[in-house]
């Protein structure tokens, strides 16, 4: 087995079993619920498991609009004994795009009845990432959750698809034309032409 192959296998196993020593960085999966017995608006909820903790994150309302006040509720409890986290959580926000990595602090919240509550109000529609940060047992935790404000632009996938298809069709067409011209100037073609 060559060295390149061995390195690849080593990287594969390292990726599989390595444990992050400093912090955890995650993105959860959202679900939506409605409680018709209370006046609470529909909520978006994400549950994740991070290091020693189960984290539940809820957003009220589920689909906040620009200039509409909303709230994030965060629950963190230890996996081993179910004990709720009692420290402080820093909530930060940033745009969910590759170009803008600038973060703003939304607030620092202490626990209240085992819940960390953070209010928000966004002026612009778009896709945001809320980051909750806390420290426990000298380990830092960073948990990222998606938040959509208003109707975010979804032309991305359609634009990319249409562009890719157009690029493909044009490329194939140009290659075919080149092939045709090459065929026309080839001796085989000239011979055929004379025979006509």
């Amino acid at each position: 087995m060559n060295i390149k192959k061995m390195n690849l296998i080593r990287i594969f196993f390292l990726t599989l079993f390595c444990s992050s020593a400093q912090g955890h960085h995650v993105l959860g999966r959202p679900s939506y619920s409605l409680n018709e017995d209370s006046t609470t608006p529909p909520s978006m909820q994400v549950e994740v498991q991070v290091g020693e903790y189960y984290i539940t994150y809820m957003v009220f309302p589920a689909f906040p609009s620009p200039n509409q006040p909303g709230r994030v509720n965060l629950y963190a409890s230890r996996i081993d004994n179910g004990e709720p986290f009692q420290g402080q959580v820093i909530f930060k926000v940033r745009d969910n795009n590759w170009l803008n990595k600038r973060e703003e602090v939304l607030g620092i919240q202490a626990v209240d009845d085992n819940v960390f509550r953070q209010g928000f109000e966004f002026q612009e529609a778009g896709n945001y990432i809320i980051r909750a940060e806390f420290e426990s047992d000298s380990e830092s935790y960073q948990i990222d959750f998606p938040l959509r404000i208003g109707d975010a632009s979804v032309f991305g996938p359609i634009g990319v698809t249409v562009s890719l298809i157009a690029l493909l069709l044009i490329t194939v067409n140009l290659l075919q034309r080149k092939k045709l011209i090459n065929a026309k100037i080839s001796p085989k073609y000239r011979y055929k032409d004379k025979s006509l």
Partner: protein, 506 residues
């Protein structure tokens, strides 16, 4: 709150076990039975249904209209997924794709074979864009018509994509995400367009499409087939319109010669052969569902892997919907310090489950080889008996999907009225309970159907073991016990899974 569907009652499981014992005794006492081709019925000759099939298959435009409808539906799904509500149960994209189509298409395979492939929107859109014609053959097109590299001319690309699709579906949660459902639809469409634009014929349909190949393999158990009416006419045919096409009709997209066709695996039911054959010798036929898989289908190494992984994926699919799975996932995630939605842990579990199903099969093949004292190679035994996995996977897939299909499609009317789910609120607890209790079929009928499917699959697998045993190593009876044990083990696992409560998808 997690809502679950009730599992198969234990009384039913006991009846199934008794029937399995009777079938094993019968299999050990009888030798294999060859089913002659004469058992097939030409569907075109049947009253009522015959003229309808003739109308659909002998003209190009009825199929074009069906394709157009499906393409419009597909585009509507993409629109709903990208622009509609992110609530899965309120959006047409997720409900139509995962609750109706993905579950229904597997059920349809038994009755209609690979009919879905004939109206597949991905291939249709790719064809329209690259061939530049809505129907009929055209000489000029937008394809480079390169030869597909030899290393890609096998079923492994489709197998790889099938595992990837399962990972996205169950691990990444695409089934509950309308946006990602639309994204996946676009991605598959791009794959179909690119492969048609670069390579000759339709490599997407034959080698790449995980859905088409799954349907293709399962359709070996279908009750219908597209075959020559008179095999002698095909034997003496020198024009081979089915393979080359005609001036107006495209050739077979997967390069099949109808006179030599023995299995449904690569047939896309497009009907080109029916229309192009100058002798009108190709027709839809009805047949016993066991004949092809037990005796006609030829074994290939790559196809054997596909069938076995398909079995592993099907079983794993069932396991992920058990209430205990989340706990196992969480514990393992904690052990390996995984974070978030535990994708790494899920991937490890998927990999382990596929590995286990393969190792179990390899163990029983090894036992068969030792018992038979045959000089046949391990590879030939591995490929030959792999057909046993197919009915076991298919019936469990059907029994499992039956739950999704009849228990999770309440509320479809609301989706039709508001397909994008605009202003729709998430399901309330009352609605969730209503959906949980309102089912399309009587519960006992569902149990009866599920039980019958499991028994049927087990019976077909025994038939395969008997026939393949004779054709591969000339053995019968007790020498086939290892493979019978394999079938019993897999059926037992599937039966146990069916008796467990199953988590409602949405």
């Amino acid at each position: 709150m997690i809502m679950t569907h009730p599992g198969l009652p234990y009384e039913w499981a006991i009846i199934i076990c008794l029937l399995m014992i009777i079938l094993i005794v019968l299999a050990l006492r009888t030798s294999s039975i060859y089913e002659p081709r004469q058992y097939s019925i030409n569907l075109v000759e049947l009253p009522v249904i015959g003229p309808l099939i003739k109308f659909l298959t002998f003209n190009s435009w009825p199929l074009f209209i069906l394709k157009l409808i499906v393409v419009l539906l597909f585009l509507f799904v993409i629109t709903a997924g990208l622009f509609g509500s992110p609530i899965a149960e309120r959006n047409l994209a997720t409900v139509l794709t995962w609750n109706l189509w993905w579950t229904g298409v597997i059920v349809s395979v038994f009755f209609l074979g690979s009919a879905w492939c004939a109206i597949c929107p991905w291939d249709t859109i790719a064809g329209w864009l690259i061939r530049r014609r809505l129907w009929y053959r055209t000489s000029s097109n937008n394809s480079l018509n390169l030869k597909l590299p030899k290393r890609l001319r096998n079923i492994y690309p489709a197998l790889f994509l099938l595992v990837g699709l399962t990972w996205l579906e169950l691990g990444f949660g695409f089934t509950i995400n309308p946006y990602m459902t639309a994204f996946l639809g676009l991605l598959i469409m791009l794959l179909a367009i690119f492969s048609l634009a670069i390579y000759e014929n339709k490599p997407f349909c034959r080698f790449f499409c995980p859905i088409g190949r799954t349907i293709g393999f399962y359709s070996q158990l279908a009750v219908v087939e597209l075959r020559p009416i008179d095999t002698d006419i095909c034997a003496n045919c020198t024009t081979l319109e089915c393979y080359y096409g005609t001036e107006t009709i495209e050739p077979c997209p997967t390069r099949l010669v109808m006179g030599r066709l023995k299995q449904n695996t690569y047939c896309t039911s497009c009907g080109n052969c029916v229309q192009s054959c100058s002798k009108k010798n190709i027709a839809w036929r009805m047949r016993p569902p066991t004949r092809e898989i037990a005796q006609d289908a030829r074994s290939h190494w790559d196809e054997a892997w596909f069938m076995l992984i398909l079995l592993g994926i099907t079983s794993f699919h069932g396991v992920t919907m058990m209430p205990f799975f989340e706990k196992v996932l969480s514990k393992l995630g904690y052990m390996i310090n995984d974070s978030g939605s535990l994708l790494l842990t899920f991937s490890i579990l998927l990999f382990i489950s596929l590995l286990i199903s393969l190792l179990v099969y390899i163990f029983f093949i090894w036992l068969t080889k030792i018992l038979s004292i045959s000089p046949i190679s391990f590879k030939k035994l591995f490929s030959g008996f792999a057909f046993t996995a197919l009915p076991l996977a298919f019936v469990y897939h059907l029994a499992h999907n039956l739950n999704h299909l009849v228990r999770e499609n309440d509320g479809i009317g609301q989706i039709i009225l508001n397909p994008l789910g605009i202003e729709a609120e998430p399901l309330s607890m009352m609605e969730k309970h209503a959906r949980h209790t309102e089912i399309l079929l009587n519960q006992d009928l569902i149990f009866l159907l599920q039980s019958s499917l499991i028994v049927f699959g087990f019976w077909v697998s025994l038939k395969i073991i008997q026939n393949r045993g004779i054709s591969l190593i000339k053995i019968n009876g007790r020498y086939l016990l290892p493979m019978i044990m394999f079938s019993v083990l897999i059926t037992g696992i599937h039966l146990w899974l069916l008796t467990q409560p199953m988590i409602m998808r949405m």
